[in-house]
Symmetry: C2
Subunit: 213 residues, 2 copies
DNA sequence: CTGGCAATCGCCCGATCGGGCGATAGTCGT
DNA sequence: ACGACTATCGCCCGATCGGGCGATTGCCAG
């Protein structure tokens, strides 16, 4: 059994080598920080975590194959004491929300300064959570908004494809009236007037993703 | 007059310090590469370019205040011989297209490997253009697609706000019939059936941006 | 077991949408 | 001067949309 090193050991997970390098450089400016591993995807992240048991893990939200939130879930399930800071470019409310629920200790936007980054790592390492004001504000905006049900999200997902209500009804195997009822609920929950605005708001909140498929 | 240094001098422009650091580290692994300056926005980029006259400039597409393409335009206008590689996370067809038209010598996605990055810089420095296959494919997909006119883009931009045709007509000071004509043209050009699908396709091509305003 | 929520279906109705068809006037490049 | 493109407007019409109203079933928590 070796004695615990005095510094903070870090695992970086991001599919962009570019970002990993940037993170490594910015973080290793701190004399007591040590990047002990880098992973390019979720599977590799789990493997490296098992071997290295880092003090803090920096985890990108958007990754191919297994996304950051899924990786986080599996990580927390196996090592509930893992301290993970999520990193992302987007401030989509829903993603922040799911990350926090999945057990993230922090949530940073990639435009952070070195100081914020270092502060966040120290804070998370010492057991605190770290949600910057900017992110917290996004989260608060969503706090009181009613969540869409599974079925409602299914209906919502049909809209960007240009499906009409009868189309959606056929696609989901329900009646036209039911489809319209779901849509009415969706509009009401998102506080929008029609499908176009619904798409907009849903994308902005991270409920809907246009680039997929 | 000093003699030209043997290496390649580089200017990095990106609003994320993280990415700038990563780029700097990856690039300076090459012994003949020298990062002579870093800028966090368009204005700063123009200023530094004037002072440093770098061999190659790496320019982020998405930036606050003045975006990368606007910066590129101004850069090329003042220094037509400037060799610029655009960098971005997104592979939106329209943005690639506009970047090339504005005079970019290269267009890289941020998920590039170090090797690709270095190769691109060398290629651009030696006078060649550099459009990776992955990017070229996106571009080709858009090649035959008709472009929307200015006015059509204005109409398109109203859709995500949930405006009805009469609303759009009032907002733009034109008749309802004209609005409908524009929309018909838009649908036809984008090859979609309604406003919902139009939003989807337009966002995917980079013609429309939901996060703005 | 009662109350809330989700999912399902129904009817009615006015407003809106999308498309087919045609038309004029201006600009721009050749 | 001619075609190509754009912006503008018009009419007609069936399909679709969004909303107001109510209803049943099932499930889960209090």
């Amino acid at each position: 059994m070796q004695t615990e090193p005095p510094g903070i050991s870090l695992l970086l997970v991001d599919d962009h080598a570019l970002v990993r390098m940037g993170l490594a450089v910015l973080l290793e400016m701190e004399p007591d920080f040590k990047v002990v591993g880098e992973a390019g995807d979720g599977a590799q992240a789990l493997e490296l975590f098992a071997r290295l048991n880092p003090d803090v893990t920096l985890l990108d939200v958007r990754m191919p194959h297994m996304d950051g939130i899924e990786t986080l879930k599996q990580l927390i399930q196996k090592w509930p004491e893992a301290r993970v800071v999520m990193l992302t470019t987007s401030d989509l409310e829903d993603e922040i929300d799911r990350a926090i629920r999945a057990g993230a200790c922090g949530y940073l936007l990639k435009k952070v300064t070195r100081e914020e980054l270092v502060k966040a790592v120290r804070q998370v390492h010492s057991g605190e959570a770290c949600i910057p004001d900017e992110v917290a504000k996004q989260l608060a905006a969503n706090r009181n908004a009613p969540r869409l049900s599974e079925r409602e999200r299914e209906v919502l997902a049909m809209l960007p494809r240009g499906l009409t209500n009868p189309d959606i009804a056929k696609a989901l195997g329900i009646s036209l009236n039911t489809t319209k009822t779901h849509l009415r609920t969706i509009f009401s929950k998102l506080d929008v007037v029609d499908r176009s605005e619904a798409i907009n708001v849903a994308v902005q909140r991270g409920i809907l993703h246009l680039n997929e498929q």
